[in-house]
Amino acid sequence: MSFQRTQEKLKILADAAKYDVSCSSSGSKRANTNKGLGDATGMGICHSYTEDGRCVSLLKILLTNHCIFDCAYCVTRKSNDVKRAAFKVQEVVDLTINFYRRNYIEGLFLSSGIFKSADYTMERLVAVAKKLRLEENFNGYIHLKSIPGASDELMREAGLYADRLSVNIEIPTEAGLKKLAPDKKREDFIKPMVKVKNEIIQYNAEKKIIKSTPKFAPAGQSTQMIIGASGENDFQIMQTSNHFYKSYNLKRVYYSGYVPISYDDRLPQIGSAVPMLRENRLYQTDWLMRFYGFDVSEILNEQHQNLDLDVDPKLSWALRNLHEFPVDVNTADQRMLARIPGLGMKSVFKIINARRFRKLNWEHLKKIGVALNRAQYFMVCDSNQFEKRDLTSEKIKGLILQNSTSKYQKMLSNQLSLFG
């Protein structure tokens, strides 16, 4: 491996890969049973964090940034004037192994621009994973991109070596996709996703009968959508997200605030702010759907097509549904506890456990770690002190905002002044 050439390529191909936000390295079950290198059984580990505060868990690179497509939102698009490079299969293997041995990473996230054809590209991604597994005895985490349009045979092979596969749908609606990526079709994204979904179902069924059935993508599939590039509202985005979770059994949908990289007039111009707060609110909604027992239509629907920026989506839901409150924390079931603003699932479980021993009062709840600033208006506990005034939603929201400082304060006032 020539150090200088590899160094040059690494700079180009890491830079081009950084807009893919998935960094998850958890959820696999690949144990180190062969006295080889690596183990992917536990929870994921973030080995470092970049200065933008995002976790570095995997060596995230493109195999090449040569691409035959011209998607407006993509930095690697054919018409963009950037330096191009391509790794050899062995170079990626060497980098992965040597970074892993030094405990820099949990594994590899390999994506690629599409050169020649979908299958030609997918074949090379699979070759890297295969070499790592079979020649290097590598049991660390491997995340491969499913290249849109790749054949079923290649997707099957990919799943045998990779822990996770993902294909990014990028644009939440088909109309948006048509506008920004005219050469791409929704079906091409869906095809590999369906194949992988079916293979996982088949694997789970066969494993019950034959324990030694080779693993198939044990950490499942994920996808990503760009936020704020093509004019969709939050309702449309979360509906799409919900559809993908339900129809394709995805492990994760990622939301990536659009970072302006182009002067194309179909897109936000270079220099406009990355919608980080909106991205954060979408993730909160995603969590409410997956872990807090909310249905997406409770949070976003025809009447409420966009998430509030100044308060989190659970508080926003609670303010619209004051008739459900106050909740008594000493008697309420898990479902209702999880709906109290300011209570995370950790606190919910702590409360359920702790109230078996004695009735809980404000002091207990505060020590357990409940965010009382928000929660106090929505609950009662073992105390005769509670909110007795008949407050309106606006009044409660005002009181909460008065007593809190958002880490997004600066962004919030900027964003609001845009519309105000």
């Binding site: 150090f3 590899t6 160094q7 690494l10 700079k11 890491a14 830079d15 890969a17 950084k18 807009y19 144990a31 180190n32 006295k35 080889g36 290198l37 690596g38 183990d39 059984t41 536990g42 580990i45 973030c46 080995h47 470092s48 964090y49 970049t50 200065e51 933008d52 505060g53 995002r54 976790c55 570095v56 060596l59 995230k60 980098l95 040597n98 970074f99 041995r101 030094r102 405990n103 820099y104 005895n137 605030g257 970072v259 302006p260 990355v274 980080m276 702590k350 456990n353 702790a354 078996r356 021993f357 004695r358 809980l360 207990h364 020590k367 357990i368 880490k407």
Partner: protein
């Protein structure tokens, strides 16, 4: 009855032997300190406790039967925090646990239980950080070497993780603060004490000790770290919260070029 101050040798077995002593003599007003950090109380009488593995095992078995597995983990984790006064909290926890019929480790509104759960949580966090922030450097004798200075004594907790993961390479993880380390020789992990050369600088990769290729991979890693950052999303506050500054000196990617 006069207050007693029991002094043990700093080991977990020593601590459990002390607990045995407390129950054996039905002591009421008692404090426990390890022999390295003893502070003389004004009105208490010091007594040194002999570490007895058999008694320690008996106590540990008794405690485990009264707690969920998570509860006994928490006790051990909290013990490894080495925080001043943690022994007294543990004693209170254990006395409460043994006096109750049902398992109490989830009684989060009991002050000692909550406190121990919180300390155990910090120790768990430090353990996880060390699994993340250990940076091996390849030495000339083909050993992957890492030095750490964790806030708590987490080496015993991370052994299994590293042994399972790096089964095909020799490695050392050395706790500079506590002066001991783990060495894996491709078969087993052993506790070691090392003498370092006078001029050995733990944060510098010196070509007298480290392999030539080590420099290249550190450089590649630093380049990667820079290239993967998105400048327009810069958020140093978040960065520092995730990677507190006290860990930077051992992170290859945070070294000046």
């Amino acid at each position: 009855m006069q207050a007693k101050n029991l002094i043990y040798d700093g080991t977990f077995d020593g601590f459990l032997s002390t607990i045995f002593y407390v129950f054996e003599h039905k002591l009421k007003t008692v404090t426990i300190q390890n022999e390295f950090t003893v502070q003389q109380g004004l009105f208490s009488e010091n007594e040194s406790i002999h570490t007895d593995e058999v008694k320690a095992n008996r106590v540990w078995k008794g405690i485990k039967s009264k707690l969920s597995s998570n509860g006994s983990y928490q006790l051990y984790y909290a013990f490894l925090s080495e925080e001043v006064g943690v022994e007294d909290l543990l004693l209170d926890y254990i006395q409460y646990a043994l006096s109750q019929q049902k398992k109490v480790d989830k009684d989060y509104s009991h002050p000692s239980i909550l406190k121990i759960a919180q300390i155990a949580k910090s120790v768990g966090r430090e353990k996880h950080r060390m699994e993340a922030f250990v940076r091996f450097r390849l030495t000339k004798d083909d050993i992957y070497f890492a030095s750490i200075e964790p806030d708590f004594n987490v080496l015993p907790l991370i052994e299994k993780h590293f042994k399972r993961r790096y089964a095909d390479q020799k490695w050392v993880i050395y706790d500079i603060k506590r002066g001991y380390g783990l060495f894996y020789d491709l078969k087993t992990v052993e506790l070691i004490n090392m003498d370092f050369p006078e001029n050995f600088n733990f944060t510098k990769t010196d070509n007298a000790f480290f392999a030539t290729q080590e420099f290249e991979f550190q450089k590649l890693w630093q380049d990667y770290f820079k290239a993967t950052n998105i400048a327009s999303r810069k958020n140093m506050k978040l960065h520092i919260r995730h990677v507190p500054k006290r860990y930077w000196k051992y992170l290859s990617e945070k070294q000046p070029n």
